[in-house]
C-alpha cells in the first residue's frame, strides 16, 4: 500500500486534525488581538463544518478491501466512522455555556481530537494502533471532563482520569499477553493463532482487554466514573462521552471479539454454559442491567440518572454482542446509534433546563409543557425511546437486540439466553418508572412561574435533530438497520 492511498483512507481524520489546529490557532490569535475569548458561535461553526467535511470525505474515500491492518476501511469501519462523526457533530452543536467555559476554541479543538482518536480506533486491526487511538481519545476526554472551573468538574475529571489510567494499563497489559501468545500484532493473525490452539495466556489477556473496554463502555462494575462525569463535566463533553465514544467502543469490542477471538466465544446458553467471552459478556450485561436500572431509581439528579441509564443500556448492547450472531451484532449497532441519539437529546434538554432553573433535579422540569411545548414533546420522545416504547426507535432497537440474540442462541429444546433476555426485558420495564418520573414533572406538574424558555440555535439543533431522527428511525428502522446488516455481514464474513 502506498502512502497516498494511506492518506486517502485517513482523509476524514486528517480533516478533523487540520480543523482542530486551525481552530486552536484562530482562537489564540483572536484572544491575543482582542483580549476577549473566541465566541462560542464561531468556534462551534468551525468545528461543525470540520466534522461535516470529514463526513463528506468519508463518503468519498474509496473502499480499500485489501488495506493494511493498521488502517483499514472495511464496511464496518466506514459505518462506525459515519456514526461517530454524526453523533460527534450533535455533541459539538451543544454550545458550552459562557459561564461554564471560557475557552470554547480549546474545548472544541479537544473534542475534534477526541473524535479523531475514536475514528482511528473504529478502523484498525492492529493491537498497538488500537491502544494509541483509544488513548488519544481518552486523554482528550479526561481534559474535556474537567474543563469547567468547578470543584465538581475537577472531581469528575480526576476520577475519570484515575479510572481511565488503570483501564489503559489493563488494556496494554492484556494486549501484551495476547501478543505473547500469538506473536501477532493484528487481530486477524491472533484469530489464526487461536485456530491452532488456545492457551490460558490468551484468555487472561482477553479478560484484561474486556475489563478495559468495559470501562470505556461504562459497563458495571467498571462504571464508577460515569455518574460523576455525567454530573460534573460540561454538557458538551458528556454528550461526546455518552454517544460517540460509546459507539466507537462498541465497534472496537465487536472487532476484537467477533473477528479476533471468534474461536473462543464459549456459550452463555442456559444449561450449556462454557467459558469464553460470550459467557463473560453475558455476566457483564446482567450486572450492568441490574446495577444501572436499580441505582437509577434512586437518583435525584437527571444527569446522574442518565449516567446509570447509560450503564443499563451498555448492558442491553452487550446482550446483542454476547450472542455472537451477525443479526444481533447488527441490532446492537443499531441500538447504539439510537441510544446515542436519545441520550444526547436528553442531555441537551437537561442542559437547557439547567440553564434556566439552576439545577438538574427532575423537579426542575416541572411544567415544561407550559413553558415550551416543543421541548416537552422532545423530552417525551427521548424518554420513551430510552424506555423502549414505540413508535420511537429505542423500541425497535431493544426488540431487535432481544429477539435476534435469542435467535442466535436457542437450539432445540434449550432455552438459550432467555435468562438474560428475560432479565433485560423486565429491568427495561422497570426503567420506565424513572423515565416516567421526569415526564410526570414535565407534563403533569404545574409550575408557579410563567416563563418561556428560549433556546440558542445550537441547542435547538441538538434537541431537534435527535428527536426527529428517533421518530423517523422508529417508523422506518430499515433506513439504518439494512445498511448495518450489510456492513456486519461483509465484515464478519471474512472470519
Amino acid at each position: 500500500m502506498n502512502v497516498s492511498a494511506l492518506f486517502m483512507q485517513l482523509l476524514p481524520e486528517a480533516v478533523l486534525v487540520i480543523t482542530a489546529l486551525v481552530l486552536l490557532g484562530v482562537a489564540v490569535a483572536t484572544e491575543r488581538k482582542t483580549g476577549r475569548s473566541f465566541s462560542v458561535g464561531s468556534a462551534t461553526g468551525i468545528a461543525a463544518s470540520g466534522i461535516l467535511l470529514a463526513l463528506l470525505a468519508l463518503g468519498r474515500v474509496p473502499s480499500e478491501t485489501a488495506g493494511s491492518s493498521l488502517v483499514l476501511l472495511d464496511s464496518m469501519a466506514r459505518l462506525g466512522k459515519g456514526v461517530v462523526l454524526a453523533l460527534g457533530l450533535l455533541a459539538v452543536l451543544l454550545p458550552p455555556g459562557q459561564k461554564e467555559i471560557r475557552e470554547p476554541g480549546e474545548v472544541l479543538a479537544l473534542m475534534l481530537f477526541a473524535l479523531t482518536g475514536l475514528l482511528l480506533a473504529t478502523g484498525t486491526n492492529h493491537l498497538l494502533f488500537l491502544f494509541v487511538a483509544l488513548e488519544l481519545a481518552s486523554l482528550s476526554l479526561y481534559l474535556l471532563a474537567g474543563f469547567s472551573r468547578s470543584a465538581r468538574a475537577a472531581e469528575a475529571s480526576l476520577k475519570y482520569f484515575l479510572f481511565g489510567g488503570v483501564s489503559a494499563a489493563f488494556l496494554l497489559f492484556g494486549l501484551s499477553w495476547i501478543y505473547g501468545f500469538s506473536h501477532a500484532a493484528t487481530l486477524t493473525d491472533v484469530a489464526l493463532a487461536l485456530k491452532s490452539g488456545v492457551s490460558p495466556l490468551a484468555m487472561a489477556g482477553l479478560v484484561m482487554v474486556l475489563v478495559a473496554l468495559g470501562f470505556k463502555l461504562a459497563a458495571a462494575p467498571f462504571h464508577y466514573w460515569a455518574p460523576d462525569v455525567y454530573q460534573g463535566a460540561p454538557a458538551t463533553s458528556v454528550a461526546l462521552v455518552s454517544a460517540a465514544s460509546k459507539a466507537a467502543g462498541l465497534v472496537v469490542l465487536i472487532r476484537f471479539l467477533q473477528i479476533g477471538f471468534a474461536a473462543v466465544d464459549g456459550s452463555a446458553a442456559w444449561g450449556s454454559m462454557s467459558a469464553g467471552w460470550s459467557l463473560w459478556l453475558a455476566v457483564l450485561a446482567a450486572v450492568s442491567i441490574l446495577f444501572g436500572n436499580v441505582l437509577a431509581l434512586a437518583q435525584s439528579s437527571v444527569r446522574r440518572l442518565l449516567a446509570y441509564s447509560a450503564v443499563a443500556n451498555t448492558g442491553y448492547l452487550l446482550v446483542g454482542i454476547c450472542a455472537n450472531a451477525p443479526a444481533s451484532t447488527g441490532a446492537a449497532l443499531f441500538y447504539v446509534v439510537v441510544y446515542g441519539l436519545a441520550t444526547l437529546g436528553a442531555l441537551s434538554l437537561t442542559a437547557s433546563v439547567e440553564r434556566h432553573q439552576g439545577n438538574d433535579s427532575p423537579q426542575a422540569f416541572a411544567g415544561l409543557v407550559h413553558h415550551s411545548p416543543l421541548q416537552a414533546v422532545a423530552l417525551l420522545i427521548f424518554m420513551a425511546s430510552l424506555a423502549g416504547i414505540p413508535p420511537f426507535a429505542g423500541f425497535v432497537g431493544k426488540f431487535a437486540i432481544f429477539s435476534t440474540a435469542m435467535a442466535g442462541t436457542i437450539r432445540g429444546e434449550g432455552s438459550g439466553i432467555t435468562w438474560l433476555v428475560g432479565l433485560a426485558s423486565v429491568m427495561s420495564a422497570v426503567s420506565l418508572y424513572y423515565y416516567l418520573c421526569i415526564l410526570k414533572e414535565a407534563f403533569v406538574k404545574e409550575s408557579a412561574e410563567v416563563r418561556s424558555d428560549r433556546l440558542s440555535p445550537g441547542h435547538a439543533l441538538a434537541i431537534g435533530i435527535p428527536a426527529v431522527a428517533l421518530v423517523v428511525l422508529g417508523l422506518f428502522p430499515s433506513l439504518l438497520l439494512d445498511p448495518i446488516a450489510r456492513a456486519v455481514a461483509e465484515s464478519l464474513a471474512a472470519r
Partner: protein
C-alpha cells in the same frame, strides 16, 4: 371504505387535533368525534359486508417493513377482528361524547385519546407479532398521561401503577414472542407462520406461561388484576371507558390470538390453572365489589369479575367457550363503558361524590331520573339478564365450561349470584336510596345533556341488540374462529 380507515381515521384525528391552533382548541372534540364516527362506520360497514359475503376474501394489507428482522406491516380483518373493531369504534364515540365537557388542555386530551384508539384498532388487525406488539405498546404512554393529567382520586399513583403493570406485562410478552421467533428460525414475525411451527414440548411448557401471563395481566387476571380497579378509578371518564372497555380486551385478544395458537401444547398443560385463576377472579372480583363504597370501585372490581369469564371461556378451549369469550369481550366492552360513563361523568360531575352513602342525599332517581333508568338497564346488562349482551356471552361461556370443566360450573354460578348482589346493592344505594321523612330535600341537579344522552343510547342499543339478536355477532365470531390459527387449541370443535 376498507377497515384500514379505522386506524387511519384515529391517527389522523390525533394529529389533526394536535395541529389545531390554540383559539380553535374547542373544536378538538368535534374533530375527535368525527374521527371516531368515521372509524366506527368503517368497521360497521365492513361487518355488514362480511355478513353479506361470508365467503369473500378477508380484507388484507401486507407490506414490507423491516426485512432484516422479518417484520411486516400485515393487517387483516376477519369476522372476529371486525366485531372487535366495531366495539372499539362504538366505545370511542361514546368516550368522546362523555368527554364533551373536558376543558383543560382539550387538544392534548383528545389527541391522546385518539392515539389509544388507533393503537387498539391496530392490535385487533395485526397479523404480524412485531406489529401487534408495537400497536400494543403505543397505548402505554397515552394511558399514563390521560390518567395522570386529567384523572381524579390518587391519579398519579393510579396512573403509575397501571403503567408499570402494563409495561411489566409487556416485558413478558416480548420475551415470549422472542422465544417463538428464535425457535422458529428467526426469520419472520408472521403470526400464522409462528403458529405453524411445531415447537418442542419442553419449550412450550415454559414459554407459554410467560407469553400468556403477559397478555393476561392486561386482561385483569387474578392475582395480577390490582392495577385495574385503581387505574380505572383514577382515570378520567373517557379513559376509564377505554381502559375497561377496550384496552383490557387487548390482553384477552393477545392471549386468544397469539399466546394460545403459538404454543397449543403449552396451553394444554396450563389450561386447568388458567381456568382456576379465572374462577377465583370471578368470585374475588364479585366479592370485593360487594364491599366497596366508591361507585367507581364497584364497577372496577366488577370488571375484574367479568374479565374472568373471558379467560374462563378461553381456558375451556371449546368452540362455545371461545365464542363466549369473544362475545363477553364485546359485551363487557359496551357495558363497562356505559357504567363508567354514568358513574364518572353523569353522576360524579354533578354530585362531586361517588361514595354510596353520600349519594343518598341526592336521591338520584328523583333528581336525575334519566341516569337512574340508564344505570338500571346497565346493571341489568351487567348482571347477565336475558335480553342483554351479558346473558348471551356468559351462557356461551358456561356451555363451553360444561364441556370441559363441569366441576367449575357451580362456583361460577355462585359468582353470577354474587354479581347480582353487588350490582343491585350499588344500584340501590346510589340511585334508589331509602330516605327518612326528616331528611333535607335533595338539591336539584342539571338534567342530562344531549351528548350524555346520545352516548348512553348508543351503548345501550348495542348491548340490547346483541342480547336480542346475537346471530350476526355469532356468525362474525364463528367465521374468525374457523381460522387455522385456532384449530390446534380447540378440544371439542
Amino acid at each position: 371504505m376498507t377497515p384500514a380507515w379505522t386506524i387511519l381515521s384515529a391517527f389522523a384525528g390525533a394529529l389533526l387535533v394536535l395541529l389545531l391552533p390554540a383559539r380553535l382548541a374547542g373544536a378538538s372534540r368535534l374533530v375527535a368525534l368525527i374521527a371516531s364516527i368515521l372509524g366506527a362506520v368503517a368497521a360497521g360497514v365492513a361487518c355488514l359486508e362480511r355478513l353479506a359475503h361470508p365467503d369473500a376474501a378477508v380484507w388484507e394489507s401486507n407490506r414490507e417493513w423491516i426485512p432484516s428482522l422479518g417484520a411486516r406491516l400485515h393487517f387483516a380483518a376477519d369476522g372476529l377482528s371486525l366485531a372487535l373493531l366495531f366495539l372499539t369504534g362504538v366505545v370511542a364515540i361514546a368516550g368522546v361524547l362523555f368527554s364533551w365537557n373536558v376543558n383543560t388542555r382539550p387538544r392534548a386530551f383528545f389527541a391522546l385519546f385518539m392515539t389509544i384508539i388507533g393503537g387498539v384498532y391496530g392490535v385487533f388487525m395485526s397479523r404480524d407479532a412485531f406489529l401487534l406488539f408495537v400497536c400494543y405498546e403505543i397505548v402505554i404512554l397515552p394511558k399514563y398521561l390521560l390518567i395522570a393529567i386529567w384523572g381524579s382520586t390518587r391519579r398519579e399513583y393510579g396512573a403509575m401503577k397501571l403503567t408499570m403493570y402494563s409495561i411489566g406485562a409487556s416485558a413478558l410478552i416480548l420475551v415470549g414472542l422472542a422465544v417463538a421467533y428464535a425457535a422458529a428460525g428467526g426469520t419472520s414475525f408472521e403470526i400464522a407462520y409462528l403458529a405453524s411451527v411445531k415447537y418442542p414440548l419442553a419449550l412450550q411448557a415454559w414459554a407459554f406461561p410467560i407469553l400468556f401471563l403477559g397478555f393476561a395481566v392486561l386482561a385483569g387476571m387474578w392475582p395480577f388484576h390490582t392495577w385495574a380497579p385503581t387505574g380505572h378509578v383514577a382515570a378520567p371518564t373517557a379513559a376509564s371507558m377505554l381502559l375497561a372497555g377496550v384496552v383490557m380486551k387487548l390482553g384477552a385478544f393477545g392471549a386468544l390470538c397469539v399466546a394460545m395458537p403459538l404454543f397449543p401444547q403449552g396451553f394444554e398443560q396450563w389450561s386447568t390453572s388458567i381456568a382456576l385463576l379465572a374462577v377465583i377472579g370471578i368470585l374475588y372480583g364479585a366479592l370485593t365489589a360487594l364491599a366497596q363504597q366508591d361507585l367507581k370501585f364497584v364497577i372496577g372490581y366488577s370488571s375484574v369479575s367479568h374479565m374472568g369469564f373471558i379467560l374462563l371461556g378461553m381456558a375451556a378451549a371449546t368452540h362455545w367457550g371461545l365464542r363466549g369469550a369473544v362475545l363477553q369481550m364485546i359485551s363487557h366492552g359496551v357495558i363497562a363503558g356505559l357504567l363508567f360513563g354514568i358513574a364518572g361523568r353523569v353522576v360524579y360531575e354533578r354530585t362531586h361524590t361517588r361514595d354510596l352513602n353520600e349519594l343518598k342525599a341526592f336521591d338520584l332517581w328523583k333528581t336525575l331520573p334519566g341516569a337512574a333508568l340508564a344505570f338500571t338497564l346497565a346493571t341489568a346488562a351487567s348482571m347477565g339478564l336475558p335480553g342483554f349482551s351479558g346473558f348471551v356471552a356468559e351462557i356461551s361461556v358456561a356451555i363451553g365450561l360444561w364441556q370441559t370443566y363441569p366441576w367449575l360450573v357451580p362456583p361460577v354460578a355462585l359468582g353470577i349470584v354474587i354479581t347480582g348482589a353487588f350490582s343491585l346493592r350499588a344500584m340501590h344505594k346510589a340511585f334508589f336510596p331509602e330516605r327518612n321523612v326528616g331528611d333535607a330535600p335533595p338539591p336539584t341537579l342539571p338534567p342530562l345533556t344531549g351528548s350524555e344522552k346520545s352516548a348512553i343510547a348508543l351503548l345501550l342499543a348495542v348491548s340490547i341488540s346483541i342480547g336480542i339478536y346475537p346471530k350476526p355477532w355469532v356468525s362474525l365470531i364463528d367465521e374468525g374462529l374457523r381460522s387455522p390459527l385456532f384449530q390446534s387449541i380447540l378440544a371439542h370443535p
